[in-house]
Symmetry: C2
Subunit: 175 residues, 2 copies
Amino acid sequence: MDIKQYVIEHGRQVNLAAGQHLFRQGEMEDALYFVKQGLFKAYYLCQDGKELVKSFIAEGDVITNLSAVFEREPCTFSLLALEPAALVKVDFDSLYQHTLDDLELSRFMLASLIKLAQKKERREYEFLCLDATTRYQQLMQHQPDLLHRITQNDIARYLGITPVALSRIKHGRKA
Amino acid sequence: MDIKQYVIEHGRQVNLAAGQHLFRQGEMEDALYFVKQGLFKAYYLCQDGKELVKSFIAEGDVITNLSAVFEREPCTFSLLALEPAALVKVDFDSLYQHTLDDLELSRFMLASLIKLAQKKERREYEFLCLDATTRYQQLMQHQPDLLHRITQNDIARYLGITPVALSRIKHGRKA
DNA sequence: CGAGGTAATTAACCTAGGTTAAAACGCTGA
DNA sequence: TCAGCGTTTTAACCTAGGTTAATTACCTCG
């Protein structure tokens, strides 16, 4: 079955206002979402209360909390709508079961997972090998569009630095 | 077809001595490897000549350079045998084509990719939210076995710090 | 056994980025 | 218009980790 067909048959529309959570760290979650409209930030809340941004998710992206739905554990991060959003919600287990029996669905999942793995590998590379200034430049190059929809605070926490440090970097004040 | 069967039919044995490379950053590569024996480090060589360790790969693991084989680009990292190693080499394109037409192979690929994605997400979390000391403790907890097979230099470069810093952390000398 | 090589430790000093707090700069809404 | 609130900037100071280099601890090989 085509993934679009599957989503039409099994999906449920979900709408969120900006500022609302799709799910929260610690909660149980069993769904996978297709983003039709809007912008999300996925973020971790650390023990010391700090918030770090795992990723931004926009139209066309698929989002789920892998370890949560797959291992049936509490969500490892929260997902917050930064803009009014429209999504389609699909039960993960059910989709996964169908995937195991349907070559066309399976191809879709494979492609999505490879894309995800590549994205995470690039991020791993950036944290491992680049300093904050270079990471910021890369972000500007590769996602210039994103920067206009996101607050500088969130960009900083995505880069793994503080808003203060990002402001310094932007204004070339390092000494 | 069962993945084991596929490997038996299409795989080619490869043996490496400790210190030999399976492939090098910048080279072209089109294979996927199943590690039967041995230990590898995957590492990046940065522009400034520094070496950072992406991951360690041991018996039972599957290793490939995703972006290289999938996007037909030069390898993004090098793979070096730290111990004498035995692997089975499989052509990626061919396996991928079979995967697209065979549910059983497809299930294997899905499972591998999900495992990979989870591993990379955990690493992303660690870089984003934890300091070097905590990352080291986590590593000791989750892979105590690895530590005995790997040099402290490599552990440091895997944690994203210098060997000097790791030595300081181990001996509680922070001031 | 001793020479040479790598890995680990230590010390002194340096820098990127964190912390805190205070201003400046928008907004939006009454 | 202006009050109120979040975002960004700036400044002063602090700390984790980097850098360099010297010292020590292991190995392996002749």
